[in-house]
């Protein structure tokens, strides 16, 4: 048996942890116990920001890396973090997974960090959770301190909030101590981070998603596996997307389908932005799309090609979803 260490900034509970555990169980089963995964949750081994370099250097064999924490190392990949008109989690995750596999700039980017891309996760739609002051319309964000990540944080800023950039793992303390009034969050992640304990007002923005979340493996570790093992990992990576997304969409029900407005027994208030406000948020992205194009081009990436390829893939999977529904419902 070979034990692979997995570093993950996420807590050892909640949707993402369960999904990763499923990956580990399947891997062990399909390799007949040849490969086992040992998890190190909560950044106990490597802090989220240090994961890319750490996995690349072999301090962990595999794990979760986020593009937003090291934008310079993921110039191409962070395209996935920009909101698009396609917010469906299944459509967008499938699209970016294919994009990483098909696009040469993407391939080179992961190789440069000595990483083998295994599969993609998504944050799912971005929502807002606040303490004390509910945000019911976009104008309510004025004057609030909001933990926002990447472009999302910058756009909150554009609408008059003060953006505080910090990893999602620090949100609980930040809200509890009042360092921020609100934090950007995702439905399934609220109970995992116990945020309902410190913040009761949730606003549904249904805005874009972070797609720059990859499960990766150290390239040398990957190359040292047998061809059969590599094949199993690749297949599992492709399959796991449907599994993750279904699970996340189910767990996102705490927001969409929650008549009692309770999360883990705690009463919360759930609000939703008007369609007009949602449209304003999406429109505010354009400026940053241009910024991304510029810096990606400077880094030697064919930004236009990457973008149109991504767009085509999004459209392809959206059409498939419209025609056939989600794979788990077929």
């Amino acid at each position: 048996t070979r034990v692979l260490t997995w570093t993950d900034g996420s807590p050892n509970r909640g949707t993402r942890a369960e999904a990763a555990q499923w990956f580990a169980d399947e891997l062990e089963k399909r390799t007949n116990g040849e490969l086992k995964i040992e998890f190190h949750w909560g950044g106990a081994l490597l802090k989220p920001k240090a994961a890319v370099k750490g996995i690349g250097a072999g301090a962990a064999d595999m794990g979760l890396v986020l593009g937003v924490y090291n934008p310079k190392l993921h110039q191409a990949y962070i395209l996935g973090d920009l909101p698009t008109a396609y917010s469906d989690p299944w459509v967008s995750t499938r699209a970016i997974y294919d994009l990483v596999h098909q696009n040469e700039d993407m391939q080179a980017e992961f190789a440069n960090s000595n990483l083998q891309y295994i599969t993609n996760v998504t944050s799912t739609e971005i929502q807002l959770i606040c303490k004390d002051k509910p945000v019911k319309t976009l104008d309510d964000v004025k004057g609030l301190k909001i933990r926002g990540i990447g472009v999302y944080g910058k756009i909150f800023n554009d609408f008059g909030a003060t953006n505080v950039a910090m990893p999602v793992y620090e949100s609980y303390q930040a809200i509890d101590t009042g360092l921020v009034n609100c934090t950007q969050i995702y439905g399934y992640a609220i109970p995992a981070f116990k945020l309902q304990e410190v913040a009761k007002d949730i606003t549904k923005l249904d805005w874009g998603a972070l797609l720059g979340l990859a499960y990766v493996m150290n390239k040398d570790t990957y190359n040292s596996l047998t061809p059969e093992q590599q094949k199993i990992i690749n297949e599992l990576g492709a399959e796991s997307i449907d599994y993750y997304v279904e699970k996340m969409m189910l767990d996102n029900d705490v927001l969409t389908n929650n008549p009692n407005s309770e999360i883990d027994g705690t009463k919360v208030n759930i609000y939703e932005f008007s369609d007009a406000d949602k449209a304003r948020l999406l429109e505010a992205t354009n400026k940053y799309l241009e910024e991304w194009q510029k810096s990606a081009t400077e880094a030697g990436i064919d930004a236009v090609a990457l973008q149109s390829q991504f767009h085509d893939l999004l459209k392809k999977y959206d059409d498939e979803r419209k025609a056939k529904g989600y794979p788990w419902n077929r």
Binding site: A44, L45, G58, A59, E170, Y172, T177
Partner: protein
């Protein structure tokens, strides 16, 4: 070699080094680095691969050191340390003590009681027990000696009074505990108040009984104070009260974060010191220099412990330990008592922060598994660590007091005095353990 064997050998060597006066941080870091290196070297098979292990080791070490320090909430530690040093040099600390002293002048053991209450007051504006013992020792012990108190009573009261420093908010130990266990620092601060006051009650009781049984140890002074003098002395303590209000009131009123409370109170103490002409430039520099040195010392230990914790995480030792305990089917109480004993034994040799960071990765999953409240457990841990500060052979508070009096009172005399308080402290600890409501009442009423 399997990780548990590496870990065990490493641990023994580290203990030997620590006993040979190698700084705790050096020993822990050395252990962590060598063990991590061996772990990666043996990882991919039976043969040791020296070259392949280098980069993973370096990546793990340096990222754990840097990312740990690169923290916003941890910045409240140097700020609260600075507050303590500034308050001391601006005589804010002294004024607390005098305010209490004039009221207790005629009570048996009054000076010792005033010292303990003064420690409590200073605890409310400083984050560290050692700072508390050091500052109050300088102020109170000479006073008690001047009034012919026995050296034993004079020194041991301050040594034990100092242990309130980390129980009564603000507290560096609670800050670190909260960050490691993902618990609310605000709630931890609040949870420490009642157990802190309970501990104070215990100290006062012991002083009272001691002074009754051995009046020669605490001669009653014949100085009397008029009501006017008493109120004037009380009023002089306003800067301390204001700082306390800013910290506690500001946090619970939702005006400040704990970090902001640290920064604001430090700024106000500085401003008061300058405006009231109590803080000279030389004193300011001394206070800041001590802050820098002390912060560096504390964080160095913390970082070295963190490196070791990352190694422990790598080995899966935590998991083994939990399975072992599950295998023996120990009852919750047996586990709690075992944990308490481990803390008390470790407290005999190590400093509180080091112990806490080293043990939490093992202890917290156990406590969580048993379904206990982690806020309450934070108070339990801090109280245990505080007891460790006064138990021989390594009682840091006792050593501090010994150095405060320039070695004129031997360490064993102080330890002998401390024994009288220790029994009461164990009772207080038992109450905290048996009645979680004592800790949880305030945070839950928020």
């Amino acid at each position: 070699m399997d990780p548990s064997t590496i870990g065990l050998f490493g641990f023994i060597i580290t203990l030997v080094l620590i006993c040979l006066r190698v700084p705790i941080g050096f020993a822990l870091a050395g252990l962590a680095i060598i063990c991590t290196y061996l772990f990666f070297g043996f990882k991919s098979g039976d043969e040791f691969q020296a070259a392949k292990a280098v980069y993973p080791t370096l990546a793990l070490i340096s990222s754990n050191v840097f990312e740990f320090l690169h923290s916003y909430p941890l910045s409240m530690v140097p700020l609260f340390i600075a507050l303590g040093h500034i308050a001391y040099h601006a005589e804010i600390t002294t004024d607390i003590y005098y305010a209490v002293r004039v009221w207790l002048a005629r009570v048996p053991g009054g000076l010792a009681m005033a010292s303990a209450i003064g420690c409590t007051g200073f605890s409310a504006i400083t984050g560290s027990s050692l700072a508390c013992a050091s500052a109050m020792g300088r102020i109170c012990i000479p006073e008690m000696m001047r009034f012919n108190y026995s050296p034993q009573l004079a020194t041991s009261t301050v040594a034990i009074g100092g242990t309130l420093g980390a129980l009564i908010p603000p507290s560096i130990l609670f800050i670190m505990y909260g960050l490691f266990t993902e618990q609310s620092i605000n709630k931890l601060f609040l949870a420490g108040i009642i157990p802190g006051l309970l501990s104070l009650g215990g100290i006062l009781t012991v002083v009272f009984v001691w002074s009754k049984l051995k009046p020669q140890d605490a001669p009653t002074a014949d100085t009397t104070y008029t009501a006017r003098e008493r109120w004037r002395a009380t009023f002089r303590a306003w800067p301390a009260f204001s700082l306390f209000l800013i910290i506690i009131g500001g946090i619970y009123g939702g005006i400040f974060t704990a970090t902001e409370a640290a920064a604001v109170s430090m700024f106000i103490a500085l401003a008061y010191g300058v405006l009231a002409r109590k803080l000279s430039w030389a004193h300011f520099l001394q206070a800041m220099k001590d802050t820098a040195v002390q912060s560096a010392t504390i964080f160095f230990i913390a970082v070295c412990a963190k490196m070791f914790v990352a190694f422990v995480s790598l080995t899966g030792l935590t998991h083994d330990l939990i399975s072992l305990i599950e295998y023996y089917q120990m009852s919750d109480w047996a586990i709690l008592i075992m944990i308490a004993l481990i803390y008390l034994v470790m407290g005999m040799f190590l400093d509180p922060l080091g112990i806490m960071l080293l043990t939490l990765p093992f202890v917290i999953p156990l406590i969580e598994g048993m379904g206990y409240d982690l806020i309450w457990f934070g108070v339990v841990v801090v109280k245990l660590l505080e007891i460790g500060l006064i138990t021989p052979p390594v009682g840091l508070n006792v050593f501090i007091i010994n150095s405060v009096v320039n070695n004129t009172i031997p360490v064993h005399t102080i330890f002998r005095g401390v024994i009288n308080f220790l029994a009461m402290d164990i009772v207080v600890f038992a109450l905290i353990l048996a009645f979680p409501i004592l800790s949880l009442f305030l945070p839950n009423s928020l």
